[in-house]
Every structure is written in structure tokens, then in C-alpha cells.
């Protein structure tokens, strides 16, 4: 198992390298340099000041050299400074990360809570009509724009004062109950769409497993139907669902970008939008890099969890 994890960790390096290349060079594609944009907001500078600024903005060297320097800085934890506030961007991002992560985890929980039972029921359904209704509801959930659902929720629940504590965001550490109350609607808005995905995978996976020989054997042995479903079938059917959850966690995290905007939550997503509206490219660069890295790490974690649960994977990999 250790060997498998090590191998997977090593495979991460080229991917992260590629991600950093794309982020770095895409920001270079922007017409006009960061310095010009910065100067646009400032007064005139003397030639000496210009030279100094060029050095600070790293426009005095060829691009490949700049890339290597940039990577060096990032590995030391220096993600550059904001064009607007002049502050280093990393502390700002880190202070907003917990809210976005909490929102992601909550929305994941909500989608599992809805999607898993719905998927299992749908796979067991002997009633084709009910099954059809179930699937259409699932697809409908998948078709709702999150931000629209969120807006409607605000509209519908704003009448119930106290249901959505408006005003300033309260961190979990300050008042867990108030905090969860605040995040319930946003998390539901993100989670409903994803619950449809979970439902679909659970259903398909259950249908596949229920046809297996060992299920027939278990049934033939005279085991109770519930034992067959919960202990034999679900345990195997859950594997693909784990993968889907893992691979989509990053998508949920970026989904919170839009939702944070609707609910005025001070998370990383709102910071990203602010950075985009303000053309604060170092900040955009850092946020995209950090979310993509989280995404890649979660995917890796999913693979490892999968291998832990299903010995076939790591044996297969190790055998090569």
C-alpha cells in the first residue's frame, strides 16, 4: 500500500507542473502587462522608479526565467502581492479558504443524504413508473442552475426572519449553530444538483451489482433480502460512488464561487470574483493555482481511498 501511495504521489508532480505552466502562461496572455495595469491606477513615475517597478513586477527578465523564479517563490510560500491592496495574496486567500471548504463539505453531505437513498430505492424499484419519476426528478435536479436555485431560496425564505441570518458572516469557531444555519441554504443550493449525480451513479452501480452471481448465490442461500441489499450489494456498489464524489469535490468547491456571490458569503469564491472584476491578476493566478491543487490532491486522495477499500486495485498496480 505504501508503494502504491508513493507511486501516486510521484505521478502528481508532472500534473502540478503542467497546471502551474498553464496558469502562469495564461496570465501572460492578457493584453497589457501587470505593470501597465498597475500604472493605470497610479501617478507618473520617474525613470528610476520605473526601473525599480519593472524589477518588482519581474518584467526585466525573459519569460522562462520568470517562470522558474515564480515557481521558486511559490515553493517558499510567496504567491506575490495584490495589485490593488499591495498586500501579499496568500494570507487573504487562507483566511477565506475555511468558509469555502466548509460550504463544499456541507453541500457534499447534503447531496449524499439525498442522492444515496434515492439511488438505492430507484435501483430496487419494481415499479417502472415510479422509477421513471425518480429519474426525471434526478435529471431535473441536475438541470437547475445553482445560482438560480439559490436566488429563489433567498426569495422564498427571506420572509422567514431568522431562517437566513442576514448581515455579517459568523465563523464556525464563533457560533457553530448560527454558522451552520447561515450555510444551510447555500449548501443545499450546491448540493441538490450534485445529489442527482450521486443518485444516478448509485442506481447504475446497484443495478450492475444486483445482477452478479454472488448476489444470486446470496439470495439462493435464503439470506434475507435486506441483508443481501445492504451487506452484499451496497458494499460493492458504493465504490464507483466514492470515485464520483472525489472527482467532483473540486467542482463543488468552484460551484461555491457563484453561490458565495448570491449569499454574500466572504469565501474564496467571492475573493476570486473580486479579483477578476478588479483585474487583480496575481490574486487570480494564486486562487486558480490553489483550487486546482486542492482538486488534484482530492482526486489523489480518492484514488487512495478507493485502493484501500478495494484491494484489487493496489494488487493490480503492484503486480506490474
Amino acid at each position: 500500500m505504501g508503494r502504491y501511495i508513493a507511486k501516486r504521489l510521484l505521478s502528481l508532480i508532472p500534473v502540478l507542473f503542467g497546471v502551474s505552466l498553464i496558469v502562469f502562461f495564461m496570465v501572460r496572455l492578457i493584453p497589457g502587462s501587470a505593470l501597465e495595469m498597475y500604472m493605470g491606477t497610479q501617478v507618473e513615475a520617474t525613470p528610476q522608479q520605473m526601473l525599480e517597478l519593472k524589477r518588482i513586477f519581474g518584467e526585466d527578465k525573459p519569460v522562462p526565467v520568470l517562470y522558474v523564479e515564480w515557481i521558486g517563490q511559490i515553493l517558499r510560500g510567496d504567491f506575490g502581492f495584490s495589485l490593488r491592496t499591495g498586500r501579499p495574496v496568500l494570507p487573504d486567500i487562507i483566511s477565506r479558504l475555511p468558509l469555502s471548504l466548509e460550504l463544499t463539505v456541507l453541500s457534499l453531505l447534503i447531496s449524499l443524504l439525498i442522492g444515496l437513498p434515492q439511488g438505492i430505492m430507484s435501483s430496487l424499484g419494481k415499479n417502472p413508473f415510479l422509477d421513471l419519476i425518480n429519474r426525471i426528478i434526478g435529471l431535473l435536479g441536475l438541470s437547475l442552475p445553482q445560482f438560480w436555485l439559490a436566488s429563489l431560496m433567498v426569495l422564498a425564505f427571506s420572509g422567514f426572519a431568522g431562517w437566513i441570518p442576514m448581515g455579517n458572516y459568523i465563523p464556525f469557531s464563533e457560533n457553530p449553530l448560527k454558522n451552520l444555519q447561515m450555510l444551510l441554504l447555500p449548501a443545499t443550493a450546491i448540493g441538490i444538483g450534485f445529489s442527482a449525480v450521486i443518485m444516478r451513479y448509485t442506481r447504475n452501480s446497484m443495478l450492475e451489482v444486483l445482477q452478479m452471481d454472488y448476489i444470486r448465490t446470496a439470495k439462493a442461500k435464503g439470506l434475507k433480502k435486506n441483508v443481501v441489499i445492504w451487506r452484499h450489494a451496497l458494499k460493492n456498489a458504493i465504490l464507483p460512488v466514492i470515485t464520483v464524489v472525489g472527482f467532483n469535490a473540486g467542482g463543488l468547491l468552484s460551484g461555491s464561487i457563484v453561490i458565495e456571490e448570491v449569499f454574500a458569503l466572504p469565501g474564496m469564491g467571492r475573493l476570486a470574483l473580486y479579483a477578476i472584476y478588479q483585474r487583480d491578476y496575481p490574486l487570480i493566478q494564486a486562487i486558480v493555482l490553489i483550487i486546482a491543487t486542492i482538486f488534484v490532491l482530492v482526486n489523489l486522495l480518492t484514488d487512495i481511498v478507493y485502493a484501500l477499500v478495494d484491494p484489487r486495485i493496489r494488487l493490480d498496480e503492484g503486480g506490474k
Partner: protein, 278 residues
Amino acid sequence: MAGKKLKLNAIATTGIIIIAFYLVGIIVSFFWVPFDPVDMDTDHILEGPSFATGHIMGTDEFGRDVFSRIMAGSSISLVISLAGTALGGILGTLLGIWAGYLGGAWDHWMMRFADILFSFPSLLLSIFIMAILGEHTLNVVIAIAIVYIPQFARISRGAILQIKQEEFVRAARSNGATSHYILYKHLLPNIVVPLIVQVSLSLSVAILLESSLSFLGLGVQPPAPSWGNMLSGARKVMAIAPWTAVYPGLAIVFLVLGFNLLGDGLRDILDPRLRNVG
């Protein structure tokens, strides 16, 4: 081969009916909409839906007819989604089938490239691209295409790998067919069906992506109507005029649902294992 299998089920048919309904609406909108979708009408700001005034879905904060804007926006939203999916689908499929067919270093590097693009959540990637390229309708198409290139590359590569060792391919090769000929005449037709499913599901996501980008002000710019930027405009007034938010949203939901139903139904037909075994 595919022709026989493609006997449509109820789910796919429902999807097609919904999509056809929208297509008719789009064609009509080219020739006729009830009110001018762009011109402001300050005498009729935020009027509720009413048959008497002709504003069956009400008017927005500039007095423009919501229904007319939905109709006019339908072609904008759908064309962007279609163009983005087509561009990404064609490029991705070409990359994927050549990677799968040739194998070796080309395959290795193409798939690493796809892995890297996959490392960005699609919404984040498209927001990032819009931030770089600037808010412009054409750039939304590019953003959607870039999101889809790796997806189509993976699917078509996988499909090619499954069939490239089959007898009819070897037969064609021993008859002296060129790679080009084998790829486009023998292999491509055999992977068309999984690609159609992917196109259908991709279109549904593309419409949501476009509306999200426009909602955030990064996509189609006002006053041109797109469903996303209509919802963006509605945010300020929806508490007093909910119709400005409800109807454009419903327009998105049903079209996306149409493509989802079509894609899901087609997938069922393709993969008999998933048919209800009960």
C-alpha cells in the same frame, strides 16, 4: 450497427420533444418577438405578468418584455452552447482518436495534456479563461470549448482503444487501407453513438456554464439578452418583481432538462446493462 439499436425510449423522446419546442421558438424569434427585446420602455417598468398588457411574463427593470427577451436570448444562449460544444467536441475527438489509434508518445503526451486540463474544475477553468480573454460572447465559446476538449479526447480515445484490434480493422489494414482511411471510414462511425451521448450531456452543461458566466457578468454583455445576464439583472429587483428571475430561470431549466433527458435516454439504449433488471 447503430441504426438498429437506436430505438428511442420514452426518456430520450421526451428530451427530443422539449428541444424541438425550443428550436421552433428560436426560429420564430428570428422573425417575430412580441416586443422589442432591447429597447427600454420607461412607462412600463416592472409590470407583473398580464395578458391584458401583452407582457405575459411581465417586464424588467427597464420596462422590457421578459418573454421577448427570453425568446431573443434563446438563440444567443443556444448558439453559444452549440458552438462551444461543437468546437471542443471536434478538437477533442480528433485529438482522442489519433491518440488512441497511434498510441506511443503522441498518445502519452496528449493524455497528459488532457490530465492537466482536467485538473481545473470546469467552472473555475471557464471563469479563469473569461478573466484572461475578457468579457465577450466569442470568448464564452472558446471557454466552453477548452473545457470540453479533454472530455471528448478521453471518451473518443477510450472508444477507439476498444475497437482498434477488432477483425474488421485488421482486415482493412491488410487490404492496404491507409491510417486516415481506417480512422475516418471504419473507426469513427463506430464511436459516433457514445459521442452523441456526450454531446447531448455536454450541451446541457454548456448552457449552465454560459448562464453562470453571464450571471457573474463575465459572459454575454447587456443589453444583449442571454438567460444568464437576465438573471443577473433580476437580482436587484427580484424581491419586488420575482417574475424577472423565475421565467428566465425556467427557460434554462427546461432546455437543460431536455438535453439531459436525451443524453440519459440514449445512454440507456447504448448500455443494456443499465436497463431495469428489477
